[in-house]
Amino acid sequence: MELTYLGLNTLEYDVKKCAGCGMCVTVCPHRIFKMDEKKAVVTVKEKCIECGACAKNCAFGAIKVDAGPGCASAVLLSRFNRKNKKAVCC
């Protein structure tokens, strides 16, 4: 069963910088990249969870994403817990 969330994310991909190495295709845990004529293309952007794997593994800086955990308690705790900068999850 396909699970989908709200489809909101900060993924930005600049095809002009793509060198066609295919690392993004390999690392994406939701398989949203695929190779098309020696360039990577984004297929289902809505499925991006902002894990940051593609951006981190792109040696050519073609991918930008504001990576972070899709975790409500993390967002809430950071809002209420400004003092404890070391607050962490899992």
Binding site: N9, K47, V88, C90
Partner: protein, 381 residues
């Protein structure tokens, strides 16, 4: 690294000044590592490498089970370094893992009949995916660990098999540049390693996709369940105390009796905010977790109200509103354990849901207090 990463979260690293995440205690240095069950050492290139079995002992299994429920979870770590499985030689594959004991065990138990090296990174006892997000399962630590264990002397090849879920922390090109080792991403799940090695280090689409099946969803509800029980216990205690201020003075017995429906409802809410919605997640309507949780909590409390019987309309209303709100809140926090939520999406969900939840909590508490007063539990004049 260019940017100073804030050590954080369930998922991913946050750059300084941004919101940092949390789901547990702060990152701490683990002093006492768990035994890995190694009784023999392999001597290779002048180094002594502990040999670990590809089979888990009862102690391993019990420890991992308890960690699922938050027991000793923060100390569930193995010593970082190099380990051997089987009889690895200079050409054996090198598999990279985190030092969360459950991650390490999940890997080695899939390696029976395989000769391999396991390079355990110091992720402060956190699993691969979460540590990759924090940056502890990261480029720097990987390079450092390769040098510390003198990997270039132990193996003659230059390949490292890194779990695909570690990719959010690893810059492949920088690892190559600074250590000479080539990162090859392995499958998502350790159980597909054998197939991966057989296929000349190739993983299929299925092995590269993160799933979230029924078993996985239930496996990770342990922590949520324990924390929901804690919340419910505290709320129940407050309710008992509030209901103990009777007309005839402070009386805990009548407090318990007055709050009994409320306590029952709280624990119904625990089930209907954790295990039930986790299992039924794909079938519950709504995309937001708070909506799914609210529906589940509402259904649970209605069933409770119908089965318990003998409640006044006011008690029923209080029970339903509070359980629905609690379930909505608890299940919203389940977003952090799932594999398909994004931070941007979660922020939006909180924006929409938080005001409704606060309203629910205020109305529910109001109804409950009125109910206690009507029952004569609380002295109010």
């Amino acid at each position: 690294m260019k940017t100073e990463k804030q050590s954080c979260g369930c998922g991913q690293a946050k750059e300084a000044q941004k919101e940092e995440c949390s789901c547990g205690g702060p990152v701490k240095e683990i002093v006492k590592f768990k035994e890995t069950g190694s009784r023999w050492m392999i001597n290779i290139a002048g180094e002594s490498i502990p040999l670990v079995p590809a089979k888990l002992t009862a102690t391993d299994i019990i420890g991992n089970f308890l960690a699922r429920f938050g027991i000793n979870r923060m100390d569930h770590a193995v010593r970082p370094g190099l380990y051997a499985v089987g009889r690895p030689g200079k050409t054996a594959p090198v598999l990279v893992s985190a030092n969360y004991k459950m991650s390490f065990d999940a890997l080695r138990k899939e390696l029976s009949g395989i000769d391999a090296w396991i390079l355990v990174l110091d992720t402060k006892g956190v699993n691969v995916w979460c540590a990759a997000g924090k940056g502890t399962f990261g480029t720097q630590e990987l390079i450092k660990r390769i040098l510390t264990v003198k990997l270039d002397k132990i193996v003659t090849h230059k390949n490292l098999i890194v779990p695909q879920l570690g990719a959010p922390g690893i810059e492949t090109h920088l690892v190559m540049k600074h250590s000479g080792f080539r990162v090859i991403y392995g499958p998502v799940e350790a159980c597909d390693i054998e197939e991966f090695l057989k296929n000349g280090m190739n993983a299929g689409e299925k092995e590269r996709t993160v799933g979230f099946g029924l078993w996985k969803r239930l496996e990770i509800t342990g922590i949520e369940f324990v924390s929901a029980v804690e919340i419910a216990a505290i709320v129940s205690l407050i309710a008992v105390l509030a209901a103990s201020f009777t007309k005839n003075g402070f009386n805990v017995i009548s407090g318990i009796s007055n709050a009994s429906y409320f306590i029952g409802a709280m624990f119904v809410a625990v089930f209907f905010s954790t295990i039930i919605p986790a299992a039924l997640m794909p079938y519950l309507p709504g995309r937001m977790f708070s909506v799914k949780g609210a529906i589940s909590g509402f259904a649970g409390s209605v069933i409770f109200v119908l089965l318990a019987g003998g409640m006044t309309r006011l008690t029923q209303a209080a029970v339903i509103v509070l359980s629905t709100t609690l379930a909505s809140f608890v299940f919203m926090n389940y977003t952090g354990t799932t594999t398909f939520t994004s931070l941007t999406g979660v922020r939006r969900e909180i924006e929409i849901s938080a005001p409704v939840m606060i309203m629910g909590a205020v109305i529910g508490t109001g109804l409950q207090i009125t109910d206690f007063i009507m029952k004569g539990a609380i002295k109010w004049n």
